[in-house]
Symmetry: C2
Subunit: 220 residues, 2 copies
DNA sequence: TCTGACTTAGAATGCCTATTCTGGATTTGC
DNA sequence: GCAAATCCAGAATAGGCATTCTAAGTCAGA
């Protein structure tokens, strides 16, 4: 009596258990999360749990799928038709993700936890890459809009910029996992975003302060 | 009869076993690497292994320390007095790291594997953060030199740029762990490096191709 | 060559965890 | 209210793994 992730996801009664399990896997990783933990956190009976999902791996697959869909929706709705402009939308959605990470002291569920599982199961690691590509292409869409509005740094293409954003968020996740603070991570993300944007003359005053020897001349 | 990581590191006979174990932990992670694996890979007797290190955790600590020192040396020697200029040195050392990662389908031993162990042991996660800071400050040093030579993007400080580089490399590691290819990762890193450098007029031709409507005017 | 310390290979131990089983409780359909 | 199906809690089961033990083998020094 094996059940598939899709079936589990479509059952409204399983939404709460899946979310509880997601929280555990996200915070603790796959190996470090025991079925006992899941039983306690969901309040679900062990027997019922095995009946509903089939086993630990299948449960994780359902969690992963749920995360995938949720995250895809988040990015798609935020970036496909951004009200306050594409760059603002990217900032908003990314800062939301950073908050999620620092709240949990964890990175991306797909990229970090699923990668752990991907060692056994090639299908999982392929799913992770497809997730990354999905998010990247949403970012690329937004950056293409930014480009049309002249808000993208001319030195890069929307595609390159999107890849950079993804890598930066993954890096932020790695740092969150190791205990870096929210403020530090936001600063880091802002640096990335600043470089992605079209350079403005106003920014050069930073340089003046930093290296007066060569740029002490007033620039007003 | 407990031995400490420092003692193990100073014994030349243990260098080879430590390197073999490092390879295993790096590729497979901490939990996924059994002592049996280590026994096979090092050719060392189980008893001798326990005598030399004390246990699995202590072995990993020795591995971690070895990686730390090795990596610190790599960055320090490459970046403290770079012959071909600071930006070239950063590129060189980073590309070396990317090769190490793609060779193993893994990220950074400290940031990824040690983070796994850091869940049990606070001292380990603090060590990871101190490692990150060490590398970041080496990058910052190089970027400060670049700044003095007018090679740094005026929109950012050496400190910000160094943090961005670290995050980018961590992101690259996360992607390598999930099976991304070397070429893709090099492209990604190059984008990052391009943005860190001082923008040149020549780059704007990229933009012309992408968005002819607004920049079709010849710019030579 | 002999002795005593050290090393080895592999078996035993003990713990932890996923999964299954079981006998009793609870719900459901009528 | 009742029979049948379903669900529950916790006890077995089974396998994996770190760590320790053991009994035989090896080596160094005289």
């Amino acid at each position: 009596m094996t059940h598939h992730a899709e079936i589990a996801l479509s059952d409204p009664l399983l939404i709460a258990p899946i979310n509880a399990a997601k929280e555990l896997f996200w915070r603790q990783g796959y190996d470090e999360t025991s079925i006992e933990d899941v039983v306690c956190a969901t309040g679900m009976n062990r027997y019922a749990l095995y009946n509903a999902f089939g086993g630990k791996l299948e449960l994780f697959l359902a969690v992963m799928e749920s995360y995938f869909i949720e995250r895809k929706n988040l990015f798609m709705t935020a970036l496909s038709d951004p009200q306050g402009g594409p760059m603002a939308a990217i900032r908003e959605v990314s800062e939301y993700c950073i908050t999620e990470m620092t709240d949990r002291g964890a990175g991306c569920l797909m990229c970090d936890v699923a990668a752990e599982v991907g060692r056994y199961d090639k299908a999982v690691s392929e799913r992770v890459l497809s997730y990354l590509e999905e998010i990247r292409s949403a970012d690329e869409m937004a950056l293409a809009q930014a480009d049309e509005r002249g808000e993208l740094n001319p030195a890069i293409s929307p595609k390159e910029g999107a890849a950079l954003l993804i890598a930066n968020m993954l890096g932020v996740g790695a740092m969150a996992r190791n205990g870096a603070g929210r403020k530090e991570l936001l600063t880091l993300f802002n640096t990335c975003l600043r470089l992605l944007g079209r350079p403005t003359g106003a920014q050069s005053h930073l340089r003046k302060r930093r290296n007066p020897k060569t740029t002490a001349v007033k620039q007003i």
